[in-house]
Each structure stands twice: as structure tokens, then as C-alpha cells.
Symmetry: C2
Subunit: 359 residues, 2 copies
């Protein structure tokens, strides 16, 4: 009997992956760059034994039918907060641990076959996925630009937005974008390369304002391409746009860029900011989006924050007023995090006979 239990982190792109040049091999049309988050990860246990007579898999405690395309879809749809990338990266990393494979580049390439952006979740810190040009995908690989320790005061607030619209899956959306958006090829060939260069330097130099500026512009352009898709893919809602507007007003009133937003294929905002600004920005968010649950212990998840009031001069300069009640579900506070981890046996999700411990 062999057993391995591992975690793999969520990553949030600052230069977005949108559009495949190969649907089978999940090869992208442009490079992307992401930040690996602390606090948010997938966890997987795999138990293998010659005595087991079949493969069984549980996802969030529920057993799934184990046939390959189906389970891929299940993982893909395990939805929200970039969890499918972490889920695939974790599955691959745990398998690799079980069988003693150690080549991180190879793991990354395998994870990519589950969900494109999963290839970035096998590294901590700042990660670049090079699109590559080869038809076999051998040069479409993710590499670490800088470890998590490189920029210790970069932090992240995730604003989870209430939303119950049906949305286009990112797989379906990006396929439609490639087929129908007249702007996507121009973005991939002209806009992204400049931004990759600019944000790489900003990360190296820990230049927050440039990092923030490029991050926001690229998020907007990704959603612009989604809107240029036919029929359009719409992932941002009125609350997302209110957050965008709030960030711009806060930065303008602050006289410099203190906060950057980025949005994946959904309405939740991921805010990048420096540690020193977190206590006031939490206050900003709570003032703009008052919530009946905001004093509850699980409204703010992740790393605790000692909230600080905004200076009166700032809130009056930006005309800060409540935008609406209960528009956010909760907030998560994270930092730049490590890559996948191997956990001690005590953390196993399965018994030695390969069944879920909670069952």
C-alpha cells in the first residue's frame, strides 16, 4: 500500500490566459503570468494498493464515476475561485509524489492537460506560462519568475461577489472567443507581449504601481475580448463594476495606485495591494459594501486583519458612500504563497483501505 497527501495552491493571473491554439493539448495563444496564493489550496490523498480491484474517486466527499472524460469535466466544473487549476495541479502532484516523479516541468505539462492554468499552480511565487509555438506543446511550459519570498509585502484580498446568473464556462467561452472575436488575435500578438515584459520587470523591481496598472489593464482587456465574442461572454456584473469604480476612485483620491483589481471568468474581485494598505482598504470595502454578516467570524477568511478607519479627508475626497447592502458574500485575505506541499500521513483524507475518513 502506498499513500500520498498533498496540497496545491490557487493561482490568480495578472496577465490573463484566454484562448487556445490547440484544444486537445490545451496550448494557449498567449503567455500568461500569475501569482500563487497562500491560504487557498486544493488537497488530495491518493492511496494505491495491489489489493484494490478498481479505481474510486471522491470529490469534496462525494464519490464520482471514474471514467476519464467525465472526471475531467467534474474537476473542471468544481468551479469558483480558480479551484479547478488547483485541483488538477494537486491531482497530478499527488500522483507524482506517490510514484516518485520529481521533474517539476513535466508535472506542470501534465497538469496543463487537465486545465490550462493548472500548469501555473505547480510553483509558488510568481509564475509565467510561456505559450510556446511548437505544435506538440513541448515549449508551452510554466516557469517560476520569482519565489514567494521575493515580494513579502504584496498581499491579496478576494471579494466574493453574490451572483446567481448562469455563466459560460471558461472552456466554452475561450473557444468561442478564438472563433468569433476580431480583437483577440490582436490582443494576443500585440498587447500581451508588451505587458508580459512590463509586468515581469515590475515584479523584479517590486514596482507596485506599474504592477497594478498592467494588472488592471489586462483584466479589463480580457473582459473586453469576452464582450467582443459572439454571442458575448459576460463574467462581470454590476457589483464587479462597482468594485472597479471604487478602486479607481480610491487610487485617484490617494494620489497614487494603492490597489489593483483583477477578475477571472466570474464576478469575484481579486485585489492586489501592499501590506501597509490592507487595514484601510478593508475599511474601504466594508464601507462601500456594508454587509449584515460583516462582524461574523467567517465574513473575513484567511489571514486576520486589524481594520483601520480611512482618513476622513480621503473618504470625503472620493465621495465614499455605501453602494448597496449584502453585495459581497465574504472576503478572503491572502499573501503570495508556496507551491504544492507534501503533507505528513496524519493529514490523509483516506484510510489505508482507500476509503474517505469522514465516511
Amino acid at each position: 500500500m502506498r499513500s500520498a497527501t498533498c496540497t496545491a495552491p490557487v493561482n490568480i493571473a495578472v496577465i490573463k490566459y484566454w484562448g487556445k491554439r490547440d484544444e486537445e493539448l490545451l496550448l494557449p495563444i498567449n503567455d500568461s503570468i500569475s501569482v500563487t496564493l497562500s491560504e487557498m489550496y486544493a488537497k488530495t490523498t491518493i492511496v494505491a494498493s495491489p489489493e484494490f480491484d478498481k479505481n474510486r474517486i471522491w470529490l469534496n466527499g462525494e464519490e464520482q464515476t471514474f471514467d476519464s472524460p467525465r472526471i475531467l469535466n467534474v474537476l473542471r466544473q468544481s468551479a469558483g475561485l480558480a479551484s479547478s487549476a488547483a485541483g488538477y495541479a494537486c491531482l497530478v502532484y499527488t500522483l507524482a509524489t506517490l510514484y516518485g516523479l520529481q521533474d517539476r516541468l513535466e508535472l506542470s505539462s501534465i497538469a496543463r492537460l487537465g486545465s490550462g492554468s493548472a500548469c501555473r499552480s505547480v510553483y509558488g511565487g510568481f509564475v509565467q506560462w510561456n505559450a510556446g509555438t511548437k505544435p506538440d506543446g513541448s515549449d508551452s511550459i510554466a516557469v517560476q519568475l520569482a519565489p514567494s519570498t521575493h515580494w513579502p509585502d504584496l498581499e491579496i484580498l478576494i471579494l466574493v461577489v453574490s451572483d446567481n446568473r448562469k455563466k459560460t464556462s471558461s472552456t466554452g467561452g475561450m473557444e468561442r472567443s478564438v472563433k468569433t472575436s476580431p480583437l483577440i488575435a490582436y490582443r494576443a500578438s500585440k498587447c500581451v507581449p508588451e505587458r508580459i515584459q512590463g509586468i515581469t520587470k515590475a515584479i523584479q523591481d517590486r514596482d507596485f504601481e506599474t504592477f497594478a496598472d498592467i494588472t488592471m489593464k489586462d483584466s479589463n482587456q480580457f473582459h473586453a475580448v469576452c464582450l467582443d465574442t459572439y454571442p458575448p461572454c459576460v463574467y462581470l456584473n454590476d457589483v464587479s463594476h462597482a468594485i472597479i469604480d471604487l478602486v479607481h476612485r480610491f487610487n485617484a483620491a490617494s494620489g497614487r495606485t494603492k490597489v489593483a483589481y483583477t477578475f477571472d471568468a466570474g464576478p469575484n474581485a481579486c485585489l492586489y495591494l501592499l501590506r501597509q494598505d490592507v487595514p484601510q482598504v478593508l475599511n474601504l470595502v466594508k464601507t462601500a459594501f456594508p454587509n449584515d454578516k460583516s462582524s461574523s467570524s467567517d465574513y473575513l477568511k484567511g489571514i486576520p486583519i486589524t481594520e483601520e478607519p480611512l482618513p476622513e479627508s480621503l473618504s470625503s475626497a472620493m465621495n465614499l458612500e455605501p453602494i448597496g447592502h449584502n453585495l459581497l458574500k465574504y472576503i478572503i485575505h491572502t499573501r503570495v504563497g508556496e507551491g504544492p506541499q507534501i503533507l505528513p500521513e496524519t493529514n490523509s483524507l483516506l484510510t489505508t483501505s482507500g476509503l474517505p475518513k469522514s465516511n
Copy 2:
């Protein structure tokens, strides 16, 4: 004493004007094409007399300070439903009538100086504004592609959406787009010319599906460019997007494109459709957006419609359900309309002494 009272119509672009190459002369970076509407127009009376000792102007019954940049701004901000274009076109047309100027091309060029798209409101039917290339703007002129009688069964429903967000003015928005959007130049130089050609032919051939397809794609791309602007300009809200989604689901369930949406710099939808489909589409809209006022006589403005229920097969095929209550303020039903009109003296808004009749 001389007096003239005229109307000039609202026009709604199907290929959008967005971005100036010259802010003073209001010269655009791309051609645009619009449809002139019936039922919706501005009305202006000008009275001139050697006995008047000063210029006075009333806008919607309220006197305005008559200094040129101010009044321009007032007209520009008279807001909503493309009314500033109609307002400027009407002002210029009425002045021209008063002084006996008849060159329509010249009127169009003068109207353009008030509000770019006003140059299209001096013609009825289908109108193209050629961007031109000359620095003095002499080739940036609007011409009629086809008169209003050309496509008699093309009709329009305008869905006025409830909204109270502050929005970026279109003047400010397009200036920011030209300065900051990496995609706008590509749109203007590569996408728009193809669409101008395609939709011109569709209009000539009365090919509704192609007309509708290009109209929707161009509306989406215009708003994509707005989102690619930094900070982004956002004119569509969740209700606008729900309308977009409804139209696509209706067309898909119908097996052909029966309805096209287009949105200007605001959340209101302008739907183009054929006369035969108006009664059912009104039912579609009322079912998706139920309204407490929907039986009131002023909920449906413009040309009356005898509503027809949607076939049960269609509404079940598209999973039609109410999206939300009171999300629309009212609906306007129009057709393709005539250009500016000179009205008989009895329609004058002013007395012979130059004061508002209602005062």
C-alpha cells in the same frame, strides 16, 4: 420678424462612432452608419427680429444663459436616447430654414460641430457618416444610403432601462478611449471598414439577418473598446446584459436571427426587428421583464402594438422566465423615419415677441 419651427429626428447607429481624430472639428476615427427613427425627434422654434436686443434661449421650457460653450454643454448634457444629436441637428436645421440655407451637406457639417452624430440626423432613412481623412474635415460628411421608404417593414423597439449610476459622458469617454485603449485603433482600421461594407450591402438587399448580425457585433465591440479604456467606461448594466442574453436565446430558439440589439453610451437597448415579429417580441420582453406599469397607457410609447403571445413551443425551448420586476421604465415603438421637417407656424413654440408660449 422671421420665425421657423422645425423637427429633427433621433438616429441610432448600427456601426458605432467612437473616437475622434480631431476634438475641435469633431472628426471621427471611423465611418459610422445609422438608422433615423420615426416618432422621436427634437423640436425647435427660432424667432428673429431687429427689435430684439439680445439672444435668449429656452431648453425644455427653461431659459439658459446664452454663451456659446455653455449652451453647447447644456445641449450635450440634455442626455438620454441620443437626444443631443437630434437637438443639434434641429437647432442647425431651424437656423438654416430661417435664413434660407438649403445645402444639406453643409447643414450636416455644421450640425457635426455641435455633436458628432448630429450630422447623421439631418437625413431620414439610412445614413452613413464618412470619417474622411482631410485635416480640415471637409470630407467628413454624412450622406443618405437609402430613404426611409427603402425598408418599410424594419421596425424598432427601444427598451428604456432603469438606471441611476453616474456615467462617463460620451465625449469624455471617447476621448479617454482614444488615449488609452490599445484595441480602438485596430477596431477603427480593421474591423469597422469590413462591417461598413457588409451592412451597406445588407441594407441594400434588405437582408435582415446579416444586418442584425453586424449590428449586434458592432455594439458589442464598441462596448468592448469602452471596457478596454483605462479607467474603463461602462455603459451597460446587468439589465442590458440580460436583454442581450434574452435576444440571443430568442434567436437561437427561433432558428434564425429575428431581433438585433444595439446599445449607445447608456444602458437602454435599441432592438431592430421586422414588423411581423413585433407583436410576439413585445410579449417576449414583457414576459422576461414584468412591470407593474405594463398595462398603463404610457408604458408603451410611440406606434401602438397588438401584442401576441409567444408560441408555447418557443418559450419553453428558450426556457423563458421572468428575469426581474420593474427593470424597464418603458418601451418605445418606432420605424425608420424621415429627416428634419419644417412645421407650419401654428406649431411654433414661441410667440411673435420671441417668448415661450407656455410661459
